[in-house]
């Protein structure tokens, strides 16, 4: 009799566990989808209001062209924001790198294929200054990156004081190639995803974002990983500087100036935790970047009166964040 009761209780316990596992799996499935809901909403919204213009093949190619810059930098930014850092300098670092590679390309006869690695190396070196100065001087990285931003801005302004720097567009336009961009984009997202989610580098940076003191006490070399985060974002900014230059063919005093705000908007819209930690995911940064690009693209094709654009943009932002955030626990779905 007692055995039967025990067996029944075991059976009930098993059922309860199975139910819990089922609920957890269901929740995980929902949590995996929710960050994409905002993006899906915005794509559907513009597809409806533009009569499908935004989802035709030619516009999808445009979207790759328009979003790849932001996606690439957001992949790099995930490492910086993931460890709890911030980089205000990305835009003007891009401008500075553009000046360097434009001058090298035009005055030193360097082959075009060598410009991309040079650009990436320049990005890694310049951006790493943020991390190095911050850890050496213990000045908050936010302040350091603000200073680097101003230094780069000043250099770019001086370089283009007399005239904007024009690259020979026809010589470089072959590199402004959609297939090449798609390959580069895929490689960078895949590499970023792997390193951030599955290697010690990403995991340690997330621990630092969760609690820097705990990270130090658990033996993580905080200095090394802080600098590494800026080296990684620098590599992505260098990549972007090259491809942007092949697309625009010009360096002006404003080159890159809008990038920092776009990156921050994308990070927030994608539901990436601004102070990093375990919930930081590469996919959030990528989704945010694509969302920002879809929004810009869709609003123009929709042909909305410019007086209403900012208001509508604000409402759409709110809806996207509403859909993508789990307010009950004050957390972000990830």
């Amino acid at each position: 009799m007692a055995e039967k009761v025990l067996a029944k209780e075991r059976e009930e316990e098993k059922q309860r566990q199975a139910e819990l596992i089922h609920q957890m799996k269901r929740k995980n499935r929902i949590n995996a989808i929710v960050p994409f809901l905002g993006l899906i909403f915005i794509i559907l919204f513009f597809a409806i209001v533009t009569g499908g213009r935004t989802v035709n093949s030619s516009n999808l190619i445009n979207l790759v062209n328009q979003s790849y810059t932001l996606i690439i930098v957001c992949v790099g930014a995930a490492f910086v924001y993931g460890y709890g850092g911030m980089d205000m300098s990305v835009g003007y670092v891009q401008g500075f790198i553009s000046v360097i590679i434009a001058v090298i390309a035009m005055n030193h006869g360097v082959p075009v294929w060598m410009i991309l690695p040079i650009s990436i190396i320049c990005g890694m070196l310049i951006s790493s200054i943020n991390g190095i100065v911050s850890v050496c001087t213990r000045v908050p990285v936010f302040v350091v990156s603000l200073c680097i931003m101003n230094i780069c801005k000043g250099i770019v302004a001086t370089a283009v004081a007399d005239t904007d720097i024009y690259m020979p567009y026809s010589e470089y336009s072959g590199w402004n190639n959609n297939v090449l961009k798609a390959i580069v984009l895929t490689v960078i997202i895949a590499a970023g995803y792997y390193v951030f989610e599955y290697t010690q580098i990403g995991k340690k940076m997330k621990v630092m974002g969760g609690n820097i003191t705990t990270a130090k006490h658990s033996g993580i070399n905080v200095t090394k990983y802080t600098i590494l985060a800026y080296v990684i974002i620098g590599a992505t900014v260098g990549t972007v500087a090259f491809f942007t230059l092949t697309r625009t063919g010009v360096v002006t005093a404003s080159t890159g100036s809008g990038l920092m705000l776009d990156v921050m908007t994308a990070i927030v819209l994608g539901g990436f935790p601004l102070f990093g930690g375990a919930k930081a995911k590469i996919r959030s940064a990528v989704v945010g970047a694509v969302t920002v690009s879809v929004l810009g693209n869709g609003l123009t094709i929709w042909g909305l009166n410019p007086n209403y654009v900012d208001g509508v943009k604000g409402i759409l932002f709110l809806i996207i964040v509403y859909i993508s955030y789990e307010r009950k626990k004050g957390e972000i779905f990830n």
Binding site: V160, A161, G258, T300, P306
Partner: protein, 400 residues
């Protein structure tokens, strides 16, 4: 389920709210009496549209014209110049049965992206402030006409692309260099000998850079004109405050434009009023009082109607007519120069009021499809005659 419900509700709320926003400026309902009241009723505000009776017209009315779709790429739509430009463009759209799609972009990357978006939106032509090689290339591939206004291209490679382009309609801008020269000349004639000049950071704006070139070239001509200090950057008001304290002998200020109301305030707060004369660009609030008090000697503006001339170049191209033989040569227009209270009163009455600088008929006269006599000479006549006196002469009867 809750999420889906929230999504559905949000979509419904947004759709409801946007129902009143309408689409871009579609103007097929413009009537034949040549009144622009339809524009006013469409936007719902009298300030954002013109309201006058142009009388009988010798040209076809909007509803007799084939509809077209044109995109506009501009740096923003909130400051005074931009709102005036948009008001002018909306009016012309109503006169020509054109649907306008506005895009906001200033950076090269954004201008190229917006060109792609406008092509995707189905525009037959694009008017743009910034022009880059990829834009020419994309418009050429898509068979979309392109015109540049309020700025000109200087790069040889882009000029080469333009020269070979089937779809480039032309470039038109104000003569910034001569504007810079004129402001120096004016201050010199007023007896100013110790001046400062201030401008935006080099490279930030081609217009401001050209004005500086004009200032520097003109200053060279006067041996006894002493330049106390110069400033290039974004904090012009702060720099002006510093100059006011540092150089008490200063008697003239040249500024290449920006927020003139701030400059007027600095002149008052730093005690410059009555002792120093300002020459600047971009007409704003308080200009009338400053011209009256003598604080302001010379101010240039009136760029918004340039959009109308660019519109006519583009419309000519879309309707299969060519005006410019050499597309690499920009058309240059005068600025409107105000030097007295009377000038300012006329500016407010004839430029910022209910009548555009060029009526629909005046722009239609530039269109070969309506006026076979339209040619480069007529464009040059419009551009070189452009002044307060010219507008008063053309439009005085519209106030009767």
């Amino acid at each position: 389920m809750k999420k889906l419900l929230a999504l559905a509700l949000c979509m419904a709320m947004t759709a409801g709210m946007l129902a009143g926003c309408g689409n871009s400026v579609s103007t097929s309902d413009t009537n034949t009496s040549k009144s622009s009241e339809s524009v006013a009723s469409e936007s719902g505000t009298s300030e954002s549209s013109y309201n006058f009776d142009a009388g009988e017209s010798e040209y076809p009315s909007a509803d007799e014209l084939e509809p077209h779709k044109i995109g506009v790429i501009w740096y923003g739509y909130t400051d005074q110049l931009s709102t005036s430009m948009k008001k002018n463009m909306d009016y012309l759209a109503s006169e020509f049965n054109v649907e306008l799609v506005y895009a906001e972009a200033y950076l090269a990357e954004d201008c190229i992206s917006e060109t792609e978006n406008l092509i995707e939106a189905g525009c037959e032509g694009i008017m743009t402030l910034g022009l880059f090689a990829a834009m020419v290339e994309k418009c050429e591939e898509a068979g979309v006409y392109l015109a540049q206004f309020c700025n000109v291209v200087t790069d040889d490679e882009i000029l080469g692309m333009i020269a070979d382009s089937k779809y480039f309609a032309g470039m038109i801008t104000e003569s910034d260099v001569s504007g810079g020269e004129m402001m120096v000349e004016d201050l010199y004639e007023r007896g100013c000998r110790n001046i400062v000049w201030l401008s935006l950071q080099a490279g930030a704006s081609a217009n401001h850079d050209n004005r500086v070139r004009g200032i520097e070239a003109e200053i060279e001509k006067y041996g006894d004109l002493n330049v106390l200090a110069t400033y290039r950057g974004t904090d012009i008001s702060e720099a002006l405050t510093t100059f006011a304290v540092t150089y008490p002998e200063m008697d003239g200020i040249l500024i290449t434009g920006g927020d003139v109301e701030e400059y007027y305030q600095v002149m008052t707060s730093e005690g410059l009023s009555g002792n120093v004369v300002l020459a600047t660009f971009d007409i704003g609030e308080g200009t009338g009082e400053r011209l009256e008090s003598g604080d302001l000697g010379w101010i240039a503006g009136g760029q918004a109607p340039t959009s109308g001339i660019a519109f006519s170049l583009l419309y000519n191209a879309i309707t299969g007519n060519k005006i410019l033989d050499d597309l690499t040569q920009p058309l240059y227009r005068n600025f409107l120069i105000l030097q007295s209270v009377e000038d300012y009163d006329n500016y407010v009455k004839y430029l910022e009021g209910n009548i555009p600088a060029y009526t629909g008929d005046e722009i239609k006269a530039l269109i070969k499809a309506f006026n076979p006599e339209a040619d480069l000479a007529l464009y040059e006549e419009y551009n070189t005659n452009y002044s307060i006196d010219d507008i008063v002469e053309r439009h005085a009867d519209l106030f009767q």
